[in-house]
Symmetry: C2
Subunit: 460 residues, 2 copies
C-alpha cells in the first residue's frame, strides 16, 4: 500500500462520521460486485456507506485529491457490472441515504435520497394517492439511486416509460467535487442543456447523485389481465407484434417461458408449470368500458397468433400470482447456476424472429437459454444458465451472449434496453454506435469528469 493510499483511508476516517467507513473485511467483500455474475471486479481500497450529501462530497473530494477511482452503488442488483469495484477504488454505497424528503400531491412530485428502495417509495407515495411507475423486477431491493444510474425500466414501461421519464431534477456531487442542483421542479423547462437526462443512465461515471426529484402520477385504476399460452416463443412473439399492429397500448405485456415457470415452481411451489411452452401476460389499466374493450382486443390478438389457450383473468389473486412468477423468474433461475443475463431491445416487428434466432443460438451452443421479456416494448431478457463449475459451458454461454447481440443489432435493435452498459455491454456499445459516437461519449465524460475518477472503465 502506498503512502498516498494509506492517507486516503486515514482522510476518509477523519472526514466521515463513525461507522461509515466499512472496517469489517467480510462486509467489505460484499460490496465488490453487483449481480452481473460474468463481469470482472477488483478489490476496493475502502468501502464507505454515506448518510448525507456532505459525506458523499467528502469522499469525492478525497478521491480527487488522491486520484483514486470512485465506484458508486446502490443495492448492487445491477446486471451489467456497472457497480463492480475497480481495483484499488473507493466503493461508495448510498443505500443508507433512505429519506423521502418531500411528497407534493399538487405538483405530483417527490424528493428522495438515492438509497430509498423502489418498492418502499411506491408504497410511501401510494399513501398520497400517487404512483411512481418505473418497476424493475428488482423493485423489492433496488434503490432509486441505482434505478437512476441505469435508467431502469420494468413492466410498466410499455405504457408509462422508463426512469428518465420521471426524473425532473437532482442534486449531484460533480466530478470536480462540487454540489449542484440540476433540472427543475416544474412540469416543463428548457433552461440549458438537459444535464439531468444526461446523468440518468450514466452509471456513476458523470457525477454522484445525492438527491432525486421524481415526477409522480395519480394512483392508477385496477388492471384487467389477459393470459395466453403458446407452443413456441415465436408464436408468442407473433402475438406481441399483433398487439402493436392493432394500435393497442397495454399497461404490461410480459413473456415468460417454461424454463422460468419451472424454476419458480421448483423454488416457490406455486404450481405454475403447465402444458404451455410460453405464457404471455397482458394488462390494461384503461378505465371503464374502453378498458374492457382493450382487454378483449388483447385476447383477440393472442388468439389470432395461435394461442393454445387464452383468457381474461377474472381472479385478481390468480393474475397477481402470474405476475409475481414473472418477477421471481430471475432469482429462481439463479438457484440453478450462474446466469448470464441478456438485455437486448428490438423493434416490435422483430420480436418473433429474434426470439426464434435465440432458440437457434441455444441449440448451436448447447446452452440452456430461458426467456423472460418485456415483450411489449421488444425488450428481451434471454437468460443463459450454466451448471455451477462447468467452465466449458461458461465459454459456450459467452459465445451465445455475443451472438444474441449480433442478432439484435442486425434486427435494428440495441444492446441494452434497461440494464445499462456497465462492463458486459462495452464491446456491444462500440459495435452499436460506432467510433464517432464513442468519441462524442468520451468527450462528454472528459468534460464532466476531467480527473477521470468516476467509475472509470464503465460505459465508455
Amino acid at each position: 500500500m502506498t503512502t498516498s493510499t494509506t492517507s486516503l483511508v486515514d482522510e476518509l476516517r477523519a472526514a466521515l462520521p463513525d461507522g461509515q467507513l466499512v472496517d469489517d473485511p467480510q462486509i467489505a467483500e460484499s460490496y465488490r460486485h453487483d449481480e452481473a455474475e460474468w463481469a470482472p471486479y477488483g478489490t476496493p481500497l475502502a468501502v464507505v456507506r454515506a448518510r448525507s450529501t456532505a459525506d458523499v462530497q467528502a469522499v469525492v473530494q478525497a478521491c480527487l485529491r488522491h486520484r483514486v477511482p470512485l465506484v458508486t452503488r446502490g443495492a448492487g442488483t445491477g446486471l451489467s457490472g456497472g457497480a463492480n469495484a475497480v481495483e484499488g477504488c473507493v466503493v461508495l454505497s448510498t443505500e443508507q441515504m433512505t429519506a423521502v424528503l418531500e411528497v407534493d400531491p399538487v405538483e405530483r412530485l417527490c424528493v428522495v435520497q438515492p438509497g430509498v428502495v423502489n418498492d418502499d417509495l411506491r408504497a410511501h407515495v401510494a399513501g398520497f394517492g400517487l404512483w411512481y411507475p418505473p418497476d424493475p423486477a428488482s423493485s423489492p431491493w433496488s434503490t432509486i439511486g441505482g434505478n437512476v444510474a441505469t435508467n431502469a425500466g420494468g413492466l410498466c414501461c410499455v405504457k408509462y416509460g422508463v426512469t428518465r421519464d420521471f426524473v425532473l431534477g437532482m442534486e449531484v456531487v460533480t466530478g470536480t467535487g462540487e454540489v449542484v442542483r440540476l433540472g427543475r421542479r416544474t412540469a416543463k423547462g428548457v433552461a440549458g442543456y438537459d444535464l439531468t437526462g444526461l446523468m440518468v443512465g450514466s452509471e456513476g461515471t458523470l457525477g454522484v447523485v445525492t438527491e432525486v426529484t421524481l415526477r409522480l402520477r395519480p394512483a392508477r385504476l385496477p388492471e384487467h389481465t389477459v393470459a395466453g399460452y403458446f407452443d413456441s416463443v415465436v408464436a408468442a412473439g407473433d402475438a406481441v407484434r399483433a398487439v402493436g399492429a392493432a394500435g393497442l397500448t397495454p399497461s404490461a405485456l410480459e413473456l415468460v417461458d417454461r424454463h422460468c415457470l419451472a424454476a419458480v415452481d421448483a423454488w416457490k411451489n406455486m404450481g405454475l408449470s403447465t402444458e404451455a411452452q410460453v405464457v404471455l401476460l397482458g394488462r390494461t389499466d384503461t378505465p371503464g368500458a374502453a378498458g374492457d374493450a382493450e382487454a378483449d382486443a388483447l385476447l383477440a390478438c393472442f388468439e389470432s397468433a395461435g394461442a393454445t389457450w387464452a383468457a381474461r383473468s377474472t381472479d385478481q389473486e390468480e393474475a397477481d400470482a402470474l405476475f409475481a412468477a414473472r418477477r421471481l423468474a430471475y432469482p429462481a433461475l439463479e438457484r440453478l447456476g450462474p446466469v448470464l443475463t441478456e438485455d437486448v431491445c428490438v423493434p416490435i416487428a422483430a420480436v418473433p424472429s429474434v426470439l426464434g434466432r435465440i432458440e437457434e443460438i441455444a441449440a448451436e451452443h448447447d446452452v440452456l437459454i430461458a426467456n423472460i421479456a418485456h415483450a411489449g416494448d421488444g425488450n428481451l431478457h434471454p437468460l443463459i444458465i450454466t451448471p455451477p463449475g462447468d467452465e466449458p459451458a461458461r465459454a459456450r454461454a459467452m459465445l451465445a451472449f455475443d451472438e444474441i447481440i449480433v442478432a439484435a443489432l442486425a434486427a435494428g435493435g440495441t444492446v441494452t434496453g434497461e440494464h445499462g452498459v456497465g462492463l458486459l455491454k462495452r464491446p456491444g456499445l462500440a459495435d452499436e454506435v460506432g467510433p464517432a459516437v464513442m468519441a462524442m461519449q468520451r468527450a462528454v465524460k472528459q468534460a464532466l469528469d476531467p480527473a477521470g475518477i468516476l467509475n472509470p472503465g464503465k460505459v465508455v
Copy 2:
C-alpha cells in the same frame, strides 16, 4: 471582407447545388432573425438553404475550415433569439429538407427531415391512424427541426409531454463535421449517454440535426371541452391549482385573458370578446364514462374557484373556435406593436400568486401585459406589448420582463418552459442554475463543439 471569408462563400458556392446559396439580398435579409423582437442580430456572410445531409455537412466543414460561426434555423418562429444571425456567420436553413422518410405503424414511429412543418407531419401521420402530440402554437409554421432545437411544448404537454419525450433518435452533423446517428428505433434503450436528449433543446449549439426519428401515439379520441370565465387571472389560477390538487390530468388547460381575446377579435372578427376578464379552457380525452366524469370534475374545479360562468361545451365548433383563438393570440397581439414574450414556468401551486405578481409588475412599469398560459403545467406566457416606436415603453418593458423572471425564480420556477434560452434568457439562465452548473454546460459545449462554431453566444 477578408480573403478568408471571400473564399468561404466561393467554397460554399462550389460545394452546394445551384440555388442553395441565397444571392438575393432581400431574401437573405429575411434570414437574419427569428420572432424575438427584442433580441439583437447581426449580418450573415452567407445564407444557405440546404436540401440534404450532404449539403449540411459541406456547410459545417466549410465553416470549420474558416472558423466561421454557423447559425442553423428552421422556420424562424422562435421567440428567444436562438436563430438570430451572429455577425459574419453562415445562416443555414433546413426548411427545404421536408421529406417524411418513413411512417411505421407497428413501431409507432416516423423518420423525418428537419424541415417538415409540425402541422404537416401531424396531418401525414393521421393518415396512418397515428398522432404526434407536441403542438406548439406555431405548429402551422414551425418545423420539426426547430421544435427539436428548442424542445418545443404546446397545449398537449400537460398530459403528453414535450418534444424531447417523442424524439427517439436523430442524425446529426457534429461539431467536428461528421455525420452520426444518435439514439435508437426501439421503445427503450440505454446504450451510452443520452446524447439524443442532450441535442434536443440545444438550439443548434451542439450539432446540426439532419434527420429525426419520432415516437408516435395512436390517434386519440375526441375531447370534451370545458370553458370557464373568471374575473381575474388570480381566480383562474386558483382553478388551475384546484385541477392539480384534484388529481386530474386534462389533455389541455389553457388560460387566455381579455387582452388576447380582444386582439383576436380585432383581427379575425371571431366575436370572442366577452364580459370575462379571463377564459380558462380545459379538455379531456379520457375515453367513455371516465372522460365524462373527468370533464365534470374539471367543471367543478372551475366553479369552486369562483368562475363567473362555466360549462361543458356541447358544440365542437364552438370549442374549436376557443382553442383557435388561443393559438391566434400571439400573432394577433403582434399587430398591436412589438411583443416581448415571457416563457416562465412555475409550480402549479404558484400559478395564482405569480399571475397576480405579473399584474402588479404591469402596473408598476406602466406596460400592457397580456396573458396566455399553458396553465395546466404552470407555463406562463405574459406578453408585454409596447406601442410601435415608443422607446421609453420598450425600456419599461425590459424592466418588467426581468422582474417577471425574478418572480418566477422566487416561486421555484424556471426562466424558460418551452421557448429556449436563445439570447433573451441567457442572464436568467445564469441566475437560475448558478456558476457551477454554467461551467458544466460550457464544458459540454466545448466537448461537442471544440471549434466553437455552432451558434456561438446562444444558450451558454
